[in-house]
């Protein structure tokens, strides 16, 4: 009897949380009528903001993957104290509020900032430009990729890399042809998380890049602007972002099984191997 009682309690507590997570999304979905959707999609804010969001998040993701993959490999394989310190630094943006990151970026790249003056003289001013949007996204979302990638690399058997090297592979070839393919599922998960985080980025972008329609106004910032004039438009924008996130999450959940069937393709016509010793 006691176990049933505690099980019911645990179930109820969990159900409260699930309800809290689901209810806002359901309300959002119910709030928009087909007519509202049309108004939202025809808003002059919509297409420029969506285009800017897609363009900058894809570019920032590319930069993160290109620079973060070798970094993650080093973090995963080095036992040095420096690596542990760097790992801590890379994780910092996860625990620092985005608004703080925005202020810090301004202090670095603003006119009075550490690098801002020299960049300005070169005509490469960053604040309140698309470059600022990109930088803010990179800073807040890179840790998600690097962390996931380092964890994926840690699971690569070091012996496999050693064998690749004894077979004549340079460090770069062993990394590209052995370590990366083995860690690929983890890298994809990390890249997806980073992309989702960049797509939702709000605070740092608002402070560092501003909310200039057509120039620095990403989808989350367009929601803010729309709320001030027409709440229906804000709801539709929110739905679009929620849908993108949901599609990404479902894709991530399906990815492992899709991967398995892809990886096992040459075997699919064969029956399971019978151990023959």
């Amino acid at each position: 009897m006691r176990t049933t009682g505690s099980r019911t309690l645990a179930f109820s507590l969990g159900a409260v949380l699930v309800l809290l997570l689901v209810l806002p999304l359901v309300s959002l979905a119910l709030a928009a009528s087909p007519a509202d959707v049309r108004v939202g999609l025809e808003s002059p804010l919509f297409l420029p903001a969506l285009a800017l969001s897609v363009r900058t998040t894809l570019l920032s993701l590319g930069i993160i993957v290109l620079t973060g993959t070798p970094l993650a490999w080093w973090l995963a394989t080095s036992e040095s104290r420096t690596a542990r310190v760097v790992e801590l630094i890379v994780d910092l943006p996860i625990v620092i509020p985005p608004a703080v990151i925005g202020v810090a970026l301004l202090q670095t790249f603003g006119r009075q900032g550490l690098l801002g003056g020299p960049l300005d003289r070169l005509g490469l001013g960053i604040p309140f430009t698309e470059r600022a949007v990109l930088l803010a996204q990179i800073v807040v979302s890179a840790p998600f990729f690097v962390q996931a990638a380092a964890n994926a690399f840690r699971k690569v058997d070091p012996d496999v890399v050693i064998v690749a090297r004894t077979l004549g592979a340079s460090p770069a070839r062993a990394f590209l042809r052995v370590a990366i393919p083995i860690a690929r599922p983890g890298l994809v998960v990390g890249a997806s998380l980073a992309w989702a985080r960049a797509l939702g980025e709000f605070g740092a972008t608002l402070l560092f890049a501003g909310n200039l329609p057509g120039r620095t106004q990403t989808m989350p910032l367009a929601i803010l602007s729309a709320l001030e004039s027409d709440v229906r438009v804000a709801i539709v924008f929110s739905l679009v972002l929620a849908a993108l996130g949901t599609v990404l999450l479902i894709g991530l959940r399906l990815a492992p099984s899709v991967w398995a069937s892809f990886a096992g393709r040459p075997d699919s016509r064969l029956r399971p191997a019978t151990p023959r010793g």
Partner: protein, 224 residues
């Protein structure tokens, strides 16, 4: 650490307690670990010599290494695993020729039916033969096997041991087999080298070790 392995005919077995430096020895020879001082000479070629600052990088040593878990590339098929060591060198050989070479060595080891499988679908014994084929296809100047039978279940061990013994006898390059099982030594190697705390405490044939064990470990090992 000074280790001279004199295995004039057939493979040399390296035995020793856990932590005695057996795997370290293999990795030093392969070049996977940086040596601090000394010399590594394999079949007349000096791969490492601290005095004359010779230190061949791992990818140029051409030492076949089969680690304990076999270290097969899980994302590649058996034939691609074997071709890995050939593809890197490019050379004049075409891709088809390289695959044919891989196919021949796989056939010689009885793995011709496994070509398009992935390591996840192989038994322990099959994995071992594929790993051996992959190490041998580059025509290594030396072959290193780390506990080649430890990853197999007991029932498979005996038959795999017999197959491995035959293969090692046919090799025309020196080989080292690390093991902790006296039956492996008996079947695989003519010469035994005992390593304890990074030092060679005894060398000789298994009979010689049995007749006059130099240390407590050797006495226990030969009786096991």
């Amino acid at each position: 650490m000074y280790v001279e392995l004199r295995g004039t005919s057939g493979p040399v077995a390296v035995v020793g307690p856990n932590g005695s430096g057996k795997t370290t020895l293999l990795r030093l020879i392969a070049g996977a670990l940086p040596a601090r001082s000394g010399e590594i000479v394999v079949a007349g070629d000096t791969l490492y010599a601290s005095d004359s600052s010779i230190d061949w990088p791992i990818e140029r040593r051409r030492v076949g290494y089969v680690p304990q878990g076999f270290g097969l590339f899980p994302h590649l098929t058996v034939v691609d695993n074997v071709c890995f060591g050939l593809d890197g060198h490019g050379g004049a050989e075409t891709r088809a020729a390289r695959r044919a070479r891989a196919g021949r060595i796989l056939a010689a080891l009885g793995c011709q039916d496994l070509t398009h499988r992935r390591p996840g679908h192989l038994s322990g014994g099959e994995k071992q033969r594929v790993a051996l084929a992959r190490a041998l296809v580059i025509e290594p100047r030396m072959l290193l096997l780390d506990e080649p039978l430890a990853a197999l279940d007991v029932s498979a061990r005996r038959s795999v041991r017999a197959v491995l013994a035959a293969r090692l006898r046919e090799l025309d390059c020196p080989s080292i087999v690390v093991t902790h099982d006296v039956r492996d030594v008996d079947a695989l190697a003519a010469h035994v080298c005992v390593l304890e705390q990074g030092r060679v405490t005894q060398q000789g044939s298994l009979q010689e070790l049995r007749a006059a064990p130099a240390t407590e470990f050797v006495a226990e090992f030969v009786q096991a």
